[in-house]
């Protein structure tokens, strides 16, 4: 058990360092921050002056070390656009994003579990084919288009829900549904395939042979074991979920981290972009780590094998 934990922690540390390096290199290696910061047409001396000012004349590893050590203390610099500390800016936009992500996950599970279960239990029937078709269509649907279509139908024509913004539970409905619809197809397929696999195992046959009703067999025995691959992949899909949340936020003008990032890109405010990228990646890594631990706890086979 301790070895498993130790291994996971080492992997976590490595991935976090990797993320910080990647985020750092995007700004400092791929682009030239001085060119991006200094207004166009400025003389060469200005470029050099800013280079010294921002500490960009130092070798790359010195710059990275400074970035990393400051980042660990929560100092991601000041915004180039508004001069506020970047970390606070990003942090205050985090809660709406997290709420949206969780709401989307909830909607996805609400859609996917019943549909996946029915499809698995009534395999090869019309219901199954319909569910599969819906899943395939759902995977091909661009989320931002779905969001816009929902706005057109529900906010513009039917006037039932607000078109954008944040505040009441009605504001949550369409964005959560859009995000849920994004994640639901793949979750549904996972539930279906996981359940099909579990339903053909020996212990389920034993449960049926014991005379248990079908409902007890499915709910009590099959579900628990089918949940493991579903939880694992959902955890790994958290990155995708956050990606979907980013897209959904921009469509519904949701006051979260994603809209802040897009605005900052338009304003060429790079410290904000960098901080947002690092923080979001850290959240994903943390969730993956927790999921790995949880699955290791639930299924002892994983603990001893890896």
């Amino acid at each position: 058990m301790r070895r498993f934990l130790g291994r996971q922690l080492v992997q976590l540390a490595v991935v976090i360092v990797g993320i910080s390096m990647l985020s750092f290199s995007i700004l400092h290696v791929v682009g030239d921050p001085v060119v991006l910061f200094v207004p166009e047409g400025a003389p060469k001396e200005e470029h050099e002056r800013f280079r010294k000012l921002l500490g960009l004349d130092q070798p790359v590893y010195v710059q990275y070390w400074r970035f990393a050590s400051r980042a660990l203390q929560g100092d991601f610099g000041k915004s180039w656009y508004g001069d506020a500390p970047v970390f606070n800016l990003v942090l205050e936009r985090m809660p709406p994003t997290i709420y949206l992500t969780l709401a989307g996950l909830g909607v996805a599970l609400l859609i996917a579990f019943p549909l996946g279960t029915i499809a698995a239990l009534r395999r090869h029937s019309i219901v199954d084919s319909l569910c599969t078709m819906v899943a395939v269509a759902g995977q091909a649907m661009p989320i931002f288009w779905l969001g816009i279509m929902l706005i057109i139908v529900f906010a513009v024509h039917l006037r039932l829900l607000p078109a954008s913004g944040y505040g009441t539970w009605q504001h949550f409905l369409m964005p959560a549904f859009t995000l849920g619809a994004f994640l639901a197809p793949i979750t549904m397929r996972l539930v279906r395939s996981g359940l099909i696999e579990v339903l053909s195992t020996d212990y389920v046959k034993t449960a049926r042979a014991k005379g248990l009703g079908e409902r007890m067999v499915v709910l009590k025995h099959a579900f628990r074991n089918a949940c493991i691959p579903v939880i694992t992949v959902l955890g790994l899909q958290f990155g995708q979920l956050l990606g979907g949340a980013i897209v959904t936020e921009t469509v519904f003008a949701w006051p979260g981290v994603a809209t802040l990032t897009v605005e900052s890109i338009r304003n060429q405010d790079f410290p904000v972009v960098q901080c947002a990228v690092v923080l979001l990646a850290l959240i994903i890594v943390a969730v993956n780590f927790i999921v790995d631990l949880a699955v290791g706890l639930i299924d002892p086979r994983i603990r001893v094998s890896v």
Partner: protein, 304 residues
């Protein structure tokens, strides 16, 4: 009565046990993949319309005609069959713009996937074939990159590089390679111990030759399937970046930026946003269906 031991064991000489003709087997396999075949035909039509766009489009996609702005599709009141899907906010014909927009999407999709697959396959081969240290370095990079959502990575790099067609291809290519790397590495590791590889090495084949002549040909199936499915993903991502204004810039027609511009007019002129989005959806759907059918055709047991 003859006992079991005395009865000859020959099979009855009728047509039941002889194999069906090859044409029939092929026909049956194709029929099982009918959705994939239909999708491939539709995709062919889409690609053809994109290539033949200048000839196919009834109007110039960039021609502005303010007097006829915000005209609805032909089947609605005030609609006109000269503009079958209506016009946008400056009077450009929507159908022509959609047909031309397909070119952008397909060019970006295919180029980005070519870039991503080239990088990913090479790195995957290297990671799978060479020793543990190379493997560990490459796979750590892959794991780190796979943690980032595709969208976030693309946004971050476009932020620095600036919006343009070439930059988008680079960004989407560089963000998309890890998935190839992972799959290719796994397969390479499995193939590395096979007899034909060991024989080749014993004969003195150089590493490069072994990798490219013996290992790579066996990886073509999964690579092709991943690439096909990734084209759809890239098209959606390119549309999203253009939708945000960070991709193809107007007035060049691209499905994404048309959606973005049409959003403002959603209240009364829903068609400006609806039809480009429908085009994205159809194209993606058709590519996904074809990719799934391709996977089932090449190897039904592929774990993708």
């Amino acid at each position: 009565m003859s006992t079991l031991a005395e009865r000859p064991l020959s099979a009855p000489p009728d047509a039941v046990t002889s194999a069906p003709p090859r044409g029939q087997v092929l026909g049956r396999r194709l029929w099982r993949l009918k959705w994939g075949l239909a999708s491939a035909l539709v995709l062919l039509a889409i690609v053809a319309s994109a290539i033949l766009a200048p000839a196919l489009a009834p109007h110039d996609p960039l021609q502005v005609n303010i007097r006829n702005r915000l005209a609805p599709p032909a089947w609605m009141a005030r609609g006109d069959w000269a503009h079958p899907l209506g016009t946008d906010q400056v009077g450009r014909d929507l159908f022509s713009r959609i047909v031309h927009g397909g070119r952008v999407s397909l060019v970006v999709g295919i180029s980005a996937v070519l870039v991503a697959s080239a990088i990913g396959v090479l790195l995957g081969l290297g990671a799978g074939y060479f020793g543990p240290r190379v493997d560990w370095t490459i796979m750590t990079l892959v794991n780190v990159m796979l943690t980032f959502p595709f969208v976030l990575l693309a946004l971050a790099v476009i932020a620095v590089l600036g919006p343009s067609l070439q930059n988008m291809i680079v960004v989407l290519g560089v963000a998309g390679w890890p998935i190839y790397c992972r799959v290719v590495r796994a397969e390479t590791r499995a193939l590395r111990e096979r007899e034909f590889v060991l024989a080749g090495q014993a004969l003195g084949m150089s590493h490069v030759r072994v990798v490219f002549r013996q290992i790579l040909p066996n990886l073509v199936s999964p690579i092709v399937v991943i690439a096909t499915l990734q084209v759809a993903q890239v098209i959606i991502l390119e549309s999203f970046l253009s939708f945000l204004g960070l991709g193809i810039q107007p007035p060049t027609p691209a499905w994404g930026n048309m959606l973005g511009e049409g959003r403002v007019y959603m209240l009364n002129s829903w068609w400006i946003a609806a039809f480009p989005g429908l085009a994205i959806f159809l194209t993606t759907l058709v590519i996904n269906l074809m990719g799934n059918a391709l996977r089932d055709w090449l190897d039904p047991h592929m774990k993708l």
